[in-house]
């Protein structure tokens, strides 16, 4: 016996992409308040396995909030009730003894379910492959201090770059939009001098890939910001829109690669 708290779990079980899926109720017994949410699920799974039953499939890896693997909708909220954390950083002391907890996978057409709570997020990788990089070869880079980058600018880039690619923003959005994800990457690279040469192509290519993958558009509900484990702000979506508009101006030939009027605030 480890702890003395009990929970009732309604967990989404689905054998595979073709299966229709259903909620199944499990008791999580002998839970301690110091357990993490995933350790609580581990304990449920250990019992299932020992009985020869298939455990609940869910993704996890680093268990310290940085790899972006864990992806559970807990009581309707991606990554659970607390702000600025991933599922693996959620602890059972957050729940009252006897609580009923509903656990679902990320739900979005672009994230097909593989099994139970595991979804396929490779659409995000394909958006990155469309342009989420700076094309520089290995070797031959200039000294790191040649480019002076102001502290504020570096901090803004870092705020955007802290995205862990978990996809909670998509799961929280009514339109299943990946705007916050794309905005974070576009803003990170557009706010640094190294990213400037390709910024026009990048924003268009990544947004086209986003549409191609079936993600919806932004509805300005800000649900994405609310569930983002790294608290990435929707101001980056505004920045993405600005980058997109700027790309349109540049490509129309009206201006030859102007410095965007709002570049300083990026």
């Amino acid at each position: 016996m480890i702890g003395n708290v009990t929970f009732t779990l309604n967990i989404w079980r689905q054998k595979g992409p073709e299966d229709s899926g259903r909620f199944v109720t499990y008791e999580a017994r002998d839970v301690s308040s110091g357990m993490s949410f995933l350790e609580m699920l581990d304990s449920v799974n250990q019992r299932l396995i020992a009985n020869g039953e298939e455990p609940v499939a869910f993704e996890q890896d680093c268990r310290e909030g940085i790899c972006g693997s864990c992806s559970l909708v807990i009581n309707g909220i991606p990554h659970g009730p607390d702000r600025g954390i991933t599922t693996c950083q959620l602890y059972m002391r957050r729940f009252l003894d006897g609580a009923v907890i509903t656990i679902e996978p990320w739900r979005a057409r672009s994230f097909p379910i593989i099994k139970d709570l595991v979804v396929d997020r490779s659409a995000l990788d394909r958006i990155m492959q469309a342009g989420g990089y700076i094309s520089v070869n290995t070797g031959g880079a200039v000294d790191g201090n040649v480019l002076l980058i102001g502290k504020d600018q570096a901090e803004t880039a870092m705020d955007a770059a802290s995205c862990i690619g978990c996809g909670a923003c998509v799961a929280a959005c009514k339109n299943a939009s990946a705007m916050l994800f794309v905005a974070a990457k576009v803003s990170h690279l557009a706010s640094l001098p190294q990213g400037k040469p390709e910024r026009t192509h990048r924003v268009r290519a990544m947004l086209e890939a986003m549409d191609r993958e079936g993600f919806g558009s932004c509805g300005n509900q800000y649900e994405c910001e609310a569930v983002c484990p790294k608290s990435i702000g929707v101001r980056f979506i505004a920045n993405l829109n600005r980058e997109y508009l700027r790309a349109g101006v540049v490509e129309s030939g009206l201006l030859s690669e102007p410095e965007a009027p709002h570049a300083e605030s990026a």
């Binding site: 993490s36 250990q46 890896d61 909030g65 990089y133 790191g144």
Partner: protein, 637 residues
């Protein structure tokens, strides 16, 4: 019979690498297109190697078991990456980084490798900046640095507390570019289960598609393993739960020598272990030791609140024992000192396995806001896990398995004893000797992947005789059959015990007998117990579900089965090394005041173990010659 030839270029240390690069054969761009390379793993080493090889024109196939290459465990590195840039003008140089690293490794690494690492380190920072990595900057726009353990200069570059993620995303973005260009084929959710060796050359791998469960063989002209370390053999470690030894262990069974497996790093500052349910230990970055002070009560079993214990009643044990380096003593030394005070009964917290890491002094001197800005994310993390506020009461920390310096043996060209099998990053043994200094693993992973392997593999491909092979070659089929049989045995055992219960047992055994301190009796006990545990696993493990489907428990059980074999190799190596060096502390070999006693006359060698079926592994020794530095007693006092 394994032969060890490190192929280190002769001549002056400073020009060895330049001369090697010049003497290496090149391949014309037209011919590179016809050559395929398999890269297993997509962390810092794997992603940087795969993208650079793609850029050079090779056809690359890159595999990872995660759902995306961006999730490899390199992502979790917090603190930073070292480079001999001397931007702070505080006396740093390539020579000093070289010396710090070789001394930090307690003179159990190769001079030539470590010197090359220090040389390449400066290029890494430039490359990373070019890729858009948002390193911390000063107000004037220059790159910022901080200090790390075991050194007296400030040479660590960082991105808040997530340097690993930012460096990995940089390598991942380079990989994305090569995927888009068609140079790299990425195969996520695919796990390597065996190595295919044909005519003595590594020519392919057996993989399992983790979604469909299908096994298949992939062939190539060379294979690169970048599959990380094996700290998870201890069950509780700071590694991600997926990190495992399977790829390197399977390669060992196909003839690649395994070097210095007993060199395992136990990191001093992790959140102390709690109850039996605990699945991992969370690291608190070493950077905290820049400002935090470690202490325990002078009295044993002192259960008062830390605030009620006066300064005179506290033992700041690192400052007392190592006045020159104080709280920034290297990891192995700090960990052992923590263990010592806990063994004396002076540990704090419910289990007695903990010491205080106290920020009260720095908060008083520099203010709460400064500390919040510097370490806010770490304090938040601590609060979430323990429910305690470290701004007002000291943190409690305890050492945790974190990194493995041991790994597959490689020569100066990063090739294992199996021709055509290259090993990079944490998976090889090469650069850190018996102990790794903080912020050096990111450096090594990227050095291997961006700047070393892409040269050396070209020479191999240009000079090796590589016959045309078919995917259904008899060696391929044999390897496929081995993997199929193993999976079948796991599924058909239909016993009563879960894989996790075996993992916990072997981990406990190793932590007790082959952890921070080791002795002959304990190691022999572990060696006696592991085979029984392994037999029990094959008899009594239960793995529900099928092999032809997404089955996470099957993946895990396969990895645990390998830990149960690998644990023996680890203990054999620890038993053979009758000295204390770096992270390997044999209780029989210590000075009167508890400092390790190294034995250069008998053990200045790399221990490379060769697999033999059904018999004890054979030990081969690669002598370590020190031409340029004089091994000294490693003192931080």
């Amino acid at each position: 019979m394994t032969m060890l030839n490190a192929k280190i270029p002769s001549g002056p240390l400073e020009t060895k690498w330049d001369r090697r690069r010049f003497s290496e054969k090149l391949i014309s761009p037209n011919n590179k297109r016809k050559l395929t390379v398999i890269v297993v793993g997509s962390g810092l080493a794997g992603a940087s190697a795969a993208s650079t090889l793609g850029q050079l024109g090779y056809q690359v196939e890159c595999f990872c078991f995660q759902d995306s290459p961006r999730r490899a465990h390199s992502i979790a590195a917090q603190g930073g990456i070292n480079a001999a840039k001397n931007y702070q003008d505080d006396g740093d140089s390539v020579g000093r980084l070289f010396y710090d690293t070789i001394k930090g490794g307690d003179f159990r690494s190769r001079e030539a490798n470590v010197y090359r690492l220090a040389q390449v380190s400066t290029q890494i920072i430039d490359q990373c900046v070019a890729l858009g990595i948002p390193f911390a900057r000063e107000y004037g726009g220059q790159l910022a640095n901080r200090s790390f353990g075991g050194v007296q200069v400030s040479r660590t570059f960082y991105c808040r507390g997530q340097t690993g993620q930012q460096l990995l995303l940089g390598a991942y973005s380079a990989l994305c570019w090569q995927i888009e260009r068609g140079q790299v084929t990425m195969r996520p959710r695919t796990e390597m289960l065996d190595l295919v060796v044909i005519d003595g050359q590594a020519r392919g791998i057996v993989v399992r598609d983790l979604v469909t469960g299908r096994l298949s063989v992939h062939t190539a002209h060379a294979v690169v393993l970048a599959t990380g370390g094996y700290s998870n053999v201890y069950y509780l470690s700071t590694n991600a739960s997926g990190s495992n030894v399977t790829a390197t262990y399977r390669a060992w069974k196909q003839g690649a020598a395994f070097a210095n497996p007993c060199f395992t790093q136990i990191h001093p500052t992790a959140i102390p272990p709690g109850d039996a349910y605990q699945a991992k230990l969370t690291l608190m970055s070493e950077s905290l030791r820049n400002d935090g002070r470690l202490w325990v009560p002078k009295m044993s079993a002192d259960h008062r609140c830390p605030g009620d214990i006066s300064a005179a009643e506290r033992d700041y044990f690192l400052e007392r024992r190592y006045p020159r380096f104080g709280n920034l003593a290297p990891r192995d030394i700090a960990s052992r000192a923590v263990k010592d005070v806990c063994d004396e009964g002076r540990g704090v917290g419910p289990s007695g396995h903990g010491v205080y890491l106290d920020f009260a002094d720095v908060i008083e001197q520099e203010g709460l806001e400064v500390v919040r800005e510097r370490y806010g994310n770490l304090f938040d993390m601590y609060h979430r896990i323990t429910g305690e506020d470290a701004y007002h009461a000291p943190m409690r920390i305890y050492p945790a398995p974190h990194y493995t310096m041991g790994g597959l043996w490689v020569d100066y060209n990063l090739m294992s004893t199996v021709p055509g099998l290259f090993v990079i990053g944490e998976a090889n043994f090469a650069d850190h000797g018996a102990n790794r200094l903080g912020a050096s693993s990111l450096m090594q992973g990227l050095a291997d992947g961006y700047f070393i392997l892409p040269y050396t593999i070209g020479h191999y491909l240009a000079t090796a005789k590589l016959s045309l092979i078919r995917e259904d070659h008899k060696e391929s089929r044999a390897a496929l059959q081995r993997a199929t049989n193993r999976i079948g045995r796991l599924l058909n055992a239909k016993g009563r015990r879960t894989a996790a219960s075996f993992h916990r047992d072997v981990g406990t055994l190793l932590r007790n007998h082959c952890g921070m301190s080791r002795n002959e009796a304990g190691l022999k006990l572990a060696l006696a117990k592991v085979p029984a545990l392994r037999e029990e696993l094959w008899r009594d493990v239960v793995v529900p579900g099928s092999g032809e489907a997404f089955n996470q428990e099957l993946e895990y059980a396969g990895r645990v089965a390998d830990y149960l074999e690998f644990a023996e190799l680890l203990c054999h190596d620890a038993l053979h090394r009758e000295e204390s060096c770096g992270a390997h502390f044999r209780e029989e070999y210590q000075t009167d005041d508890g400092e390790p006693k190294r034995d250069d006359s008998r053990f200045a060698h790399v221990a490379a173990w060769e697999y033999r079926e059904g018999a004890l592994p054979i030990l081969h020794k690669e002598p370590l010659a020190f031409e340029f530095v004089q091994p000294t007693t490693r003192s931080y006092q």
